[in-house]
């Protein structure tokens, strides 16, 4: 006879011990260190920091180790930790114009002040598996760059276009504190700062897919990469008791300024518009996709018809978070037998009525 299942606690403990063993893998293989993950899985660490909304490479590397390399799980660990941290204030805006660039490219101008700097990129690598890497060799040192006169000045392409009035100006800083979607529930319509926050921490795959959809005609924006830059910027903070900015350190960022569809009217001359992307670490895919979606989400503000998913802020903001998405999709594996029982009862009753009715119709026909 049936005996109610007991022992959930023991089962959970055992599952977690098994997980720890599976995480370690074959004990004959040396254990990964957090330093190795941080140094050699740097782009993965960057992604966890970006979607975890917390710039801490060591913590992100540790989370990846704990999560067996599962990105969303690692993001989850970082976010759950982040939410326990006290807030002591907001930094001053970082100046990406003063970035020490490791990479900087423009697709709109062949040459420009500061030059095109390819930097460490997969672009133009031939995607052939390098079996030599399996043999753990040493790497040939990178070439030193030729010094350039203008290496220290690397103005943003959008700033150069602004001088001629060819692109809409960056919205002025009104000094108002930016909202924080981790501290206040989002109220629709959300302003651009909140939308950018959501996109910056949004799932890379989801944002990429949405950005891609705009290129295929679902909210087209005629984008050009004005500029992508990757490098380190200083983070400064103004402590109330000092009244002046003190440096806290440097963080690596990727910024993408997308120059998009121009608009004009009888009153205003035609001007290009902007889409903006910014992420922690080096992630051009994410920053580019983000800038496409940012621009698409400005449709209403720019008087364009809102017809596509990428232009619909409730659709984008409510679904771009990987933790919310994975939690709700995966909750389907929790028991639902009470609700399923309710559905079973109804479907059985409806089927009984269906067969009773069709029997009586048949009898009537005979």
């Amino acid at each position: 006879m049936y005996v109610a299942v007991k022992g959930g606690e023991a089962a959970i403990d055992n599952a977690h011990r098994l997980l720890a063993e599976a995480r370690r893998g074959d004990p004959a293989v040396p254990e990964l260190t957090v330093a190795q993950i941080r140094a050699q899985m740097a782009l993965l660490v960057d992604r966890v920091m970006a979607e975890g909304s917390l710039y801490d490479p060591d913590l992100a590397a540790l989370a990846l180790k704990q999560a067996r390399g599962d990105v969303v799980e690692a993001v989850f660990l970082v976010r759950a930790y982040r939410t326990t941290l006290p807030r002591f204030g907001a930094s001053t805006p970082v100046d990406t114009g003063a970035m020490a660039v490791a990479r900087r490219i423009s697709a709109t101008f062949k040459d420009l002040p500061g030059g095109q700097v390819l930097g460490p990129t997969f672009d133009y690598t031939h995607r052939l598996i390098d079996f030599a890497l399996a043999a753990e060799g040493t790497v040939e040192p990178a070439a030193e760059a030729e010094p350039r006169d203008d290496a220290d000045t690397c103005p943003r392409v959008t700033d150069l276009l602004t001088q001629d009035g060819l692109i809409e100006p960056s919205p002025p800083d009104d000094g108002a504190p930016a909202g924080d979607l981790t501290r206040e529930p989002v109220d629709y319509p959300a302003d651009r700062a909140l939308r950018l926050q959501a996109l910056a921490r949004g799932d890379e795959g989801f944002v990429l897919g949405l950005g891609y959809s705009t290129q295929r005609g679902y909210g087209r924006t005629h984008p050009f990469v004005g500029e992508i830059r990757v490098g380190d910027v200083a983070v400064e903070f103004v402590p109330e008791e000092l009244g002046f900015a003190v440096p806290l350190g440097r963080i690596r960022l990727t910024e993408c300024q997308m120059v998009t569809q121009f608009k004009g009217s009888g009153a205003a001359p035609p001007q290009f518009t902007r889409g903006y992307g910014l992420t922690f670490g080096q992630s051009e895919r994410k920053a580019m996709a983000m800038s496409l979606v940012d621009r698409a989400l400005r449709a209403e503000e720019l008087g364009e018809p809102v017809t596509s998913p990428a232009q619909d802020q409730e659709f984008v903001l409510a679904h771009c978070d990987s933790l919310q998405a994975t939690g709700f999709v995966e909750h389907l594996k929790l028991p639902h037998y009470v609700d399923f029982q309710a559905e079973l009862e109804l479907v059985r009753r409806l089927r009984a009525e269906f067969f009773r009715d069709s029997d009586s119709m048949q009898e009537a026909a005979e």
Binding site: E9, R79, T83, Q324, F328, D339, R349, L350
Partner: protein, 269 residues
């Protein structure tokens, strides 16, 4: 911040109060709203019970109960009568609740109109205007298509004659227990960032029509273990020949009855 949202929710029964849900150490969709509400109201003297599908020993209930035992050092119980706070997913205990008890529901989708109108901007307006026609049309369409209202869980209710509310995905069997309950009922939706409440002794009416009155599920047989009738049952598959057995979904209720000497037939059907 959460306590303020709870107070507002109690002051406006059935109204969904936005709150800044935080990331919890368990996934969204797994009770983060309930966990935040419970954490906000737990006091040292409280005794916590956590159930999922009516049972205390389902894995997620075990996990949440342990979380609170570990982080707050709170006393826990599996007995409905001993608990001051009961966090639940998908069921209301069979044992009637009393004054002073609080039932905390885990809610996946707090918006009863969500599947009729996906936009938050629209649904908030519909609630503000008490414009619930679409819901009645949906229920009417069920009747015209199937002969019955085809909603069996998360069955919409009207609270205190004003707001239409999602009772969370409890089977509609449990809806009547919400009406005029002496206990405080709090609802937490973490991912959707909403808290709502039904204060004690508040009217909770399941939507229906005069010629199609609201009815709860009926089971043809009593619990096979304790012989209880008029309770919600789980269907257990016993073998691959279609033999099954119906037993209480509320494990505490079933165990209590058996301890009192009630015995079911133990029969499969």
């Amino acid at each position: 911040m959460i306590r303020r949202a709870i107070l507002k929710a109690i002051a406006v029964p059935g109204y969904q109060v936005p709150f800044a849900s935080r990331e919890m150490p368990m996934p969204y969709g797994w009770g983060t709203g309930g966990v935040q509400v419970t954490a906000a109201i737990l006091g040292r003297a409280d005794v916590l019970k956590v159930i999922d599908q009516g049972a205390d020993d389902t894995t997620n209930a075990v996990s949440i109960r342990r979380f609170f035992a570990r982080t707050s050092g709170i006393a826990t119980t599996t007995r409905t009568t001993e608990a001051t706070i009961i966090q639940t997913r998908h069921r209301i205990p069979e044992t009637p609740l009393r004054e002073g008890q609080t039932l905390v529901y885990q809610v996946p989708i707090p918006e009863p109109l969500r599947f009729l109108e996906p936009r938050e901007t629209e649904t908030r307006q519909l609630h503000a205007l008490a414009e619930y026609g679409a819901m009645h049309v949906k229920l009417y369409e069920d009747i015209s298509r199937h002969g019955h209202i085809a909603t069996t869980y998360a069955y919409p209710v009207e609270v205190a004659g004003r707001y239409v509310m999602d009772p969370s995905p409890t089977p509609k069997f449990d809806n009547p227990k919400m009406d005029q309950s002496p206990a405080l009922q709090l609802f937490g939706a973490g991912r959707e960032r909403r808290i709502y409440a039904v204060p004690p002794y508040t009217s909770v009416r399941s939507l229906d029509f005069e010629d199609h009155p609201f009815r709860v599920q009926q089971f043809d047989q009593p619990c096979a273990l304790c012989g209880a009738e008029g309770v919600y049952l789980d269907e257990m598959l016993l073998d691959d020949a279609g033999r099954r057995m119906f037993v209480c979904s509320d494990t505490d209720h079933c165990e209590g009855r058996r301890a009192d000497g009630h015995v079911g037939t133990g029969d499969a059907v």
